[in-house]
Symmetry: C2
Subunit: 172 residues, 2 copies
């Protein structure tokens, strides 16, 4: 039925993006097994990836940062694990209390246009680097350029430029 | 990593729902091949399923009905194929002009709660039945109970109660 087999509908593309996201989360959960540290979800949105994280990491403390909290009610974080407000303020405040404390940080904030995210969230990578434990994993839907974050090869099945992974290097 | 293999995260569930939707659309597109008639998309939303329909049915006239038009700009229907407004009014108006004219109708309106859809959209099945050609396919995310619409077995891989399919029977 397809006029052009190379063409992918927006439905196709959306399904691939969600599958890549799930693969990234599952892979990261395995990668941090046995390593202590918090999990930070930057961006709650509808709450689907948060729901997935708490399913695959039932024993982790997962802290969620969100400015406009309106998830599906089934995915509302418990009291004390939702940090509401502008992340430009809440992330450094969290870092002041907890220091470099995260084994996994999932950067799940987006404008919907990855190329814009790098510009509009230019202030974010410093906070992410400050919160990450040495060797922590950082996952992001857009490319992060930061001297303390070293790109990591993606798991099998995740096409390049659909998702990005970084490892927090030891401070010099 | 899973505490309970029977549990499905909301991300898992969402991916399955989208995959089922895509499978339904692909299956319906094959099923109506060679049969004349319009395609009606009831509900545009983000435009992903509309985008998929026009990819797999490049030679069909696809008319889209939507009250609050705000798709991704890449999925805006061309002029003349978007019928804006309350479907309780626009569907009978379209039927008055075109009669039973559709080979495929995709009921893609939802409150997000399928059990509520049956009640809140109770006025919809009559309009769907009036617009469907004899033998037309009707796909819906929620169960439709109408004497002129006969349930059809779902394609392989679509779990029951994730999607529904009906065939318009000949008028008595």
């Amino acid at each position: 039925m397809h006029g052009n087999d190379d063409y992918m509908s927006r439905l196709d593309s959306f399904i691939r993006r969600l599958e890549a996201q799930r693969r990234m989360l599952d892979w990261a959960a395995s990668a941090i097994a046995g390593k202590p540290g918090l999990v930070l979800e930057l961006g709650l949105g509808n709450g689907r990836t948060y729901d997935h994280l708490r399913e695959i990491l039932p024993d982790r403390e997962i802290h969620v940062f969100e400015r406009d909290v309106s998830p599906n009610p089934a995915s509302m974080p418990p009291a004390g694990f939702l940090i509401e407000g502008d992340m430009a303020l809440t992330l450094p405040a969290f870092a002041a209390r907890h220091g470099a404390s995260a084994a996994l940080i999932h950067v799940d904030v987006t404008t919907g246009v990855p190329d814009c995210d790098r510009i509009l969230f230019a202030w974010l990578p410093d906070h992410v680097a400050a919160l990450a434990l040495p060797d922590a994993l950082v996952l992001s839907g857009w490319a992060i350029d930061h001297p303390a974050l070293e790109p990591v090869a993606l798991p099998t099945g995740v096409p390049p430029r659909r998702y990005y992974a970084y490892r927090r290097i030891q401070s010099a």
